[in-house]
């Protein structure tokens, strides 16, 4: 018997008897028997006439929908309710614990694991966006041998025959191995193939930090900062709030010392010395612009100032202003012994790190603000250089590349791509088709971390088991499985490999899976001592003549691995607000010297190599220096990342991975259009972002209120009172917000927000519901930066509600500005009226070109909006409703504070966003709104926004003011 019939839409189908009979049976059940019993012509004509009359209209009914339940139930699965699983996200040498929300057996949203020390419940922009990579339609879908499709079985057969000897000429190349189970397989492989070697290489590494530790202490150690204990922090080219460290925990700790609740609070002070403007520089109370090549010198001079080292010629190379700055910093540091901290960034040479260690020890910070654990002393750049030399000499017969993309991002002087052609057999395990897979003989699909068993060790040693939430979508396997296959490891399946690495009872295993942490894993602390003589004996790097170029990972694509991730490409760079591109960042004065303006093409030459890249003027960038963000200009990439931006790896050589001297920088014909999400830097004199200083607050707690001024508020309408039930509100602390973009990406993941592409961003049509406005303040050459997350303010007197001709946007009794997408006809009057410009309009159908695979990421609790419909932040109303319904079902009527976390609040590492019930005087948000720092943006319009901000407080040093 056939399944439910599709409605016939044509007369032609009418004459087809069996279908007609079935249709009749459905529409006129009481006549069905008549039809089969009385096959009278008259009856048939009568019925045909009636059915013809309704025929066209029957097609007006919605098409048949089906329900496909499971055949056999799955434990814990209730359709419509999400399930959460613990896993971890790894980036380079750091790992962050996650809770992943899954709907109907597929992951849809990533959140941080509150129990994990590296996440503390937060998730970075990269972690949030990594879910899109799982559903990337450009992933490698099958095993390939050369150009032919093959299979894992065929590879298994090949491997059995091929890998018989002792590993002569066999090399493994992977990213940094932070997985204990992969380490176990690695060790087994190196025992099985004694002549083989395993090389670990990542374009962004901690090599210099390790070298610095070895220089300072004679052994490799890893530093762990306790920023909550530091009163004074000096960051030297170290974006510890952003890209240069595992920043989630550091942001939380740092922000906890910035949130000033009372004038008597002890606020910390951050000094940043940097070349490019970074999140750390934006958060700093004092920022000194300095070329990257000069910073080691600065530290040496600081050491001399603090009498750690004898007077050095270094001092003479500092300008007067720099010297004054240095002296004030030295004094401040010395006044906070044991409660200060000096950090050197990964691009700085080893000697700078060594000086930082020496200074920290002198200031008594060892054991309080900085602690150490043992680390491996392997240098990644050295390893890959050796490998490349061996490849050139023809000594590498087999190269197994597990992850990474060395053909694209290996140091340029190693000529990796061409040397790869000399290797007889290249076996490559990769997530996507990229520059390296194009050169492989065997291409193996890698399993994404959300679909594989594995484990990772975080920076501080906490181990998380990674568990799959969905079976590998394209039959991918993990690096451990491939290495196990090749080396004949006793366990071949990823689950077995991981399970047997950890052993133990089933109950403990399940608890570890549930918690996202293996409780028993700790890493030992070490207490090294600085060897000052060795540091003094090491010469400082020579200063760079001419312009220096600095290589930095990018906030969107990191080192290039996320180039095919549409969300990250469209997420504006936190400082430059640049989307879908990179640019050579330089200071206004350098631009003037070179005679370029933003968008002009530059030809940059260094060490005999050259690149073309457009220039972008960044106020606050150090003069004489150009920052080149890595990870763009990929040639073999999926549909999203191909040809986006400009490749700077050709200039990056193995002896100058952090910064180098440019032999020539000049303007060439040509220009490039950037798509920036924020062109305007002006608040036009209005107090949109309010800043104050600790001094001011101490003197006058009402300082912030005075800045907003008193306004005569009046309304044409009788205003309702909102004193019943839940009244939702939000407070955003500008002192805590670092501008990291995590909230932007979390919102995009939670609310099915589409990407629009570079051309549409240029027209201002980006769809992000929450944006991070970045304002410069001060002069062009030395500005400070302030960030303000801006989303729908849920105004009580919303100007958008009055003007909708179809009442598509109305006010809920709980204070939310509701948006009924199905009513909206796209007048856009509401967006016109919005003073904050937070309403986003779907000018085109942004979801039309999405591959069906990508739609698996959609959150089923949120409507997917079509062309012509207005959308905006709604305080994650789906989460509010979910919590309310759960509360109703559990016979408790009151919701607890903190039970509902909006997506942005949930992911913010700084806990800058707080959402809650304003009618509950004990809720966190109510208490924050009572603080003196609290203000509303554009309050004089009397729109009564439910979102208010806590003014940014800086803590400048009175000596440097």
């Amino acid at each position: 018997m056939k399944t439910g019939k599709r409605y016939w839409r044509s007369l032609g189908e009418l004459s087809d008897t069996p279908q007609f009979r079935e249709w009749l049976h459905r529409e006129f059940p009481e006549n069905a028997s008549e039809w089969t019993n009385h096959a009278s012509r008259r009856t048939m004509l009568r019925l045909m006439a009636a059915s013809f009359g309704l025929a066209g209209l029957a097609a007006c009914r919605r098409p048949t929908e089906h329900i496909f339940p499971l055949a056999k139930g799955v434990e814990d699965y209730v359709p419509g309710n999400p399930l959460f699983y613990s896993t971890a996200f790894a980036l380079g040498s750091a790992a962050f614990g996650l809770h992943v929300e899954t709907h109907d057996g597929r992951p849809t949203k990533i959140e941080g694991n509150p129990n994990h020390p590296a996440s503390l419940g937060a998730a970075s922009a990269f972690a949030q966006a990594s879910i899109l990579s799982l559903y990337d339609p450009d992933r490698t879908r099958s095993v390939r041998q050369g150009r032919r499709r093959s299979s894992w079985e065929a590879f298994g057969e090949f491997a059995k025959d091929y890998f018989r000897d002792d590993g002569d000429g066999l090399r493994f190349l992977s990213g940094e191995v932070i997985s204990p189970s992969l380490e176990a397989v690695q060790q087994h492989a190196l025992q099985r193939f004694p002549r083989a070697r395993w090389i670990e290489y990542e374009p962004v590494s901690q090599d210099q930090a390790i070298a610095g530790a070895e220089l300072a202490f004679g052994r490799a150690v890893r530093s762990h900062y306790q920023l909550e204990k530091a009163d004074v922090v000096l960051a030297l080219d170290c974006d510890f709030l952003g890209l240069d460290a595992p920043s989630l925990a550091y942001t939380r700790a740092f922000a906890s010392r910035r949130k000033v609740s009372a004038p008597k609070s002890e606020m910390n002070r951050l000094y940043a010395v940097e070349c490019n403007y970074s999140l750390t520089g934006a958060a700093a109370d004092h920022r000194l612009q300095m070329r990257a090549s000069k910073m080691a010198l600065f530290l040496a001079a600081l050491a001399a100032e603090l009498k750690l080292a004898p007077e050095m010629p270094a001092r003479a190379q500092l300008s007067d202003a720099e010297l004054r700055w240095l002296q004030a910093v030295a004094k401040d540091l010395a006044a906070h012994r044991g409660r200060s901290l000096i950090l050197a960034g990964p691009r700085q040479p080893a000697v700078a790190h060594a000086w930082a260690h020496a200074l920290n020890e002198l200031l008594g910070n060892f054991g309080t603000t900085v602690r150490f654990t043992a680390a491996e002393g392997k240098r990644q750049v050295e390893q890959i250089r050796e490998l490349a030399d061996e490849m050139a000499a023809g000594r590498v017969k087999t190269l197994v590349i597990l992850g990474g993309n060395p053909a694209y991002d290996a140091p340029a002087d190693l000529d990796f791509s061409s040397r790869l052609t000399k290797v007889r057999t290249v076996i490559r395990l990769g997530l996507e088709e990229d520059e390296t897979s194009a050169l492989a003989h065997w291409l193996l699909p890698e399993a994404h971390y959300l679909e594989s068993w594995g484990d990772v060790r975080a920076w501080d040693g906490a181990v998380t088991i990674q568990q799959p939430m969905v079976a590998p979508l394209f039959g991918g396997r993990t690096a451990a499985e491939v290495a196990a296959m090749i080396s004949g490891y006793p366990y071949q399946r990823a689950y077995d490999i991981v399970r047997n690495r950890w052993g133990g009872a089933e109950a403990a295993w399940r608890k570890a899976l549930h918690d996202g942490l293996i409780a028993t894993e700790q890493v030992e602390e070490v207490k090294p001592k600085t060897r000052l003589d060795r540091i003094l004996a090491t010469p400082l790097p020579p200063s760079v003549d001419g312009i220096e170029i600095v290589f930095q990972p990018d906030a969107s694509v990191w080192d290039g691995r996320f180039a095919n991730n549409g969300w990250l490409q469209e997420a504006p760079d936190p400082i430059t607000k640049l989307t879908w591109d990179n640019a050579a960042l330089l200071a206004p004065s350098t631009a003037r010297t070179l005679g370029v303006k933003s968008g002009d093409m530059l030809l940059i030459e260094s060490a005999g190599r050259q690149i073309r890249i457009p220039a972008m003027i960044l106020p606050g960038h150090a003069a004489g220096s150009i920052t080149l963000p890595l990870g763009y200009g990929r040639t073999k990439c999926g549909r999203v990342g191909r040809g986006v931006g400009f490749n700077v790896y050709p200039l990056r050589t193995s002896n100058a991975m952090g910064f180098a001297a440019a032999s020539s920088v000049r303007k060439i014909p040509g220009s490039h259009r950037f798509s920036l999400t924020q062109e305007h830097h002006s608040m036009e004199g209005r107090p949109i972002v309010l800043e104050t200083t600790m001094e001011e607050l101490r003197k006058d707690p009402r300082a912030v209120e005075k800045k907003t001024g008193r306004h005569e508020l009046f309304s044409l309408y009788k205003e309702p009172t909102y004193d019943q039930g839940n009244q939702w509100g939000m407070a955003i602390d500008l002192s805590a917000c670092t501008g990291c973009n995590a909230c932007l990406l979390a919102c995009q993941a939670e609310n099915n927000i589409p990407i629009v592409g570079k051309a549409q961003v240029a027209r201002g049509r980006e769809m992000h519901w929450i944006r991070l406005d970045r304002y410069f303040e001060g002069s062009d050459e030395e500005p400070s930066i302030v960030f303000q997350p801006m989303a729908c303010q849920q105004c009580e007197n919303a100007p958008c509600e009055n003007v909708c001709p179809v009442a598509a946007t109305s006010h809920s009794p709980e204070g939310l500005n509701d948006m009924a997408y199905n009513r909206c006809i796209g007048t856009r009057y509401c967006a016109n009226n919005c003073p904050y410009k937070v309403r986003r309009f779907n000018f085109l159908d942004w979801h039309k070109d999405l591959d069906a695979l990508q739609k698996n990421q959609y959150n089923p609790d949120v409507t997917v909006r079509m062309r012509g419909v207005m959308e905006k932040c709604n305080y994650c109303v789906q989460r509010i409703q979910e919590a309310k319904i759960k509360a109703k079902a559990e016979s408790r009527r009151a919701l607890r504070d903190g039970e509902i976390l909006t997506a942005c609040q949930q992911t913010c590492p700084a806990e800058a966003i707080v959402f809650g019930n304003l009618n509950d005087p004990n809720s966190k948000v109510s208490k924050l709104k009572k603080q003196a720092r609290n203000y509303q943006v554009l309050a004089e319009l009397n729109v009564k926004p439910r979102t208010s901000y806590l003014a940014k407080v800086r803590n400048p040093n009175p000596e440097l003011a």
Partner: protein
């Protein structure tokens, strides 16, 4: 230039205009009438792949709705049960019946039975069963006497106006939670009064704002 058309043409034009207006009015009227959910959707009784009879199972045999639709108290969907639930009985009861062929096949192969959805709401409506059942809205209020249906039929329009009727005045449709699946329940006193008492006791305030159902 003389008259192109004869005088009688005037009458023709007037007649044509009148006919056009009549046709337009009729079309609009017919559309307005037939597009109402009350007309278009009520009575919808699609053919199901398996001739499952609620009258037999829920009516004669007295099975509770929640034996099969067990997610109704914990989730938004009152899910059609997995084949496994059917096989709980039918592995022994009528194991050779021809009408259960698809069910047995589904269980053996692990593939779903392709049920046809009867009560279809648009995608932009987020209806939640848990909220309603836990408040005390009976299955019969929206689905009718399913326990007397040979084939499931949609008896209520399920339009927004119809939903709002209850949301604006829920008292007549509320009953104690334990009686929610007793479809033939007759209250011993005024049902509205019973409903009012329940509303007060449980602070029931169904949303009438947009985000209550539309996200």
């Amino acid at each position: 230039m003389g008259a192109i058309f004869p005088k009688s043409a005037n009458g023709v034009v007037r007649l044509a205009a009148g006919a056009l207006l009549l046709a337009a009015g009729a079309s609009i009227g017919l559309y307005a009438y037939f597009s109402q959910p009350r007309v278009l959707d009520t009575g919808y009784t699609p053919v199901q792949p398996v001739p499952y009879s609620h009258k037999l199972h829920a009516g004669n045999l007295g099975m509770d709705c929640r034996y099969c639709h067990f997610t109704v108290e914990r989730a938004a969907y009152a899910a059609i049960p997995p084949t496994e639930v059917c096989m709980n009985c039918h592995v022994r009861v009528k194991p050779q019946s021809a009408q259960l062929q698809l069910v047995r096949e589904s269980y053996a192969r692990g593939e779903p039975v392709a049920w046809v959805k009867v009560h279809r709401l648009p995608d932009y409506v987020y209806f939640n069963h848990q909220a309603h059942v836990s408040a005390g809205v009976s299955c019969v209020s929206c689905h009718g006497r399913v326990d007397q249906m040979l084939e499931v039929k949609q008896v209520q329009p399920l339009s927004m106006a119809w939903c709002l009727e209850c949301h604006r005045n829920p008292a007549p449709h509320l009953r104690p939670v334990e009686l929610v699946t007793k479809l033939d329940w007759k209250p011993d006193r005024d049902p509205t009064q019973i409903g009012r008492e329940i509303m007060e006791a449980k602070h029931i305030a169904p949303p009438v704002n947009c985000s209550g159902c539309h996200r």
